[in-house]
Symmetry: C2
Subunit: 178 residues, 2 copies
DNA sequence: TCGCACATGTAACGTGTTACATGATTCA
DNA sequence: TGAATCATGTAACACGTTACATGTGCGA
């Protein structure tokens, strides 16, 4: 994993994904975060506006005033689209599944216009591989350790297993109907 | 939600939960975070040691050298146990479910020694209420908006719905067998 | 004209991460 | 004796949060 000169956060990509759908004011973006709890970030001004400035500095978004009204809307640039596309279409890693499978779903949600059907399939296939592998490991661990785990711990563990199985079913179902 | 004089983070409680099981060295805690990806925090020294110092300053943990060996182990104090107990047995809120349902499972996992069967039931019941309510809202939204949502967005949304349903099943099953 | 929604910003703060640094112990 | 693991720490940094601050436009 090479280190880029600048780091883009999930917050940045979340905003880019919103701007991909349509240009919005900073306030509009805030309201989207408030309504949809996007990736569980705060919708407060101190979160959104600094992020927008940063992204503007990096040439990922532009501030354009509409000719029709006097509103100032943020628009995603070509550079922004390119970065966002690269982000969503990355191959799914083991770490993604273990530590931020919520973000994987966010990436998928943004794929609508950004990725071809083939790229979606590729994403889902790598996702499925990793999840299946992970489920196997969890099952093996469960088999070996469940008798010595504290009851609540074991039950919470089983919950995690169930969620991964649900994700697995979701992927398979999607791959069949895509 | 009143503001306490000091703030305890999920990281703090995760560490407390580990120390509840048995006293450990800082290094031991780090290794636990590395193996189990506990609440998806980094296992790096820069994460664990400053947290331990902070917690020691707040009287939640103690550093005790074992008589038998020359190891220095961190131990949870009575104050720490009290704070941890209060944390895990809090009533489940809507916000918990929407923004950090993973943390709810962590809380449940730690309940083994910290909570009575009745308290576990109370927790699970409030959890179930909130999840059921949330699922209803998601279903209503889906019914109303699915036709105008972009395909990937709708599918990701459906994934979220499925996870919540799986959680709901898990809770119900547990309540029957507790 | 009162209040609310729209709209934008910033300063202080704490926390987690990365990277760097050091030393002891164990074992091959 | 050299490598690997155990063990602890800290400094620089960036990010997200809270709280504060300000102003406009519109409808009741």
């Amino acid at each position: 994993m090479k280190k880029p000169i600048f780091r883009l956060t999930t917050l940045d990509f979340s905003i880019l994904g919103l701007l991909m759908q349509k240009p919005m004011t900073g306030y509009g973006i805030r309201m989207m975060f408030e309504k949809t709890a996007l990736a569980s970030y705060s919708s407060s001004p101190g979160t959104i506006y600094p992020a927008l400035s940063r992204m503007k500095g990096l040439g990922m978004v532009e501030k354009k005033k509409q000719a029709s009204s006097n509103q100032e809307l943020f628009t995603i640039t070509k550079r922004g689209i390119s970065l966002l596309t690269r982000w969503v279409t990355q191959t799914v890693t083991r770490n993604d599944v273990i530590r931020n499978s919520e973000i994987l779903l966010l990436r998928f949600a943004f794929m609508d216009i950004l990725a071809s059907k083939a790229e979606k399939r590729k994403f889902l296939n790598s996702f499925l591989d990793v999840v299946n592998q992970y489920i196997k490991e969890l099952e093996a661990y469960h088999l070996a350790e469940s008798s010595v785990m504290p009851a609540s711990g074991r039950q919470a563990f089983e919950h995690g297993l169930e969620l991964n199985r649900a994700t697995c079913r979701w992927i398979k179902n999607l791959l069949n109907n895509l």
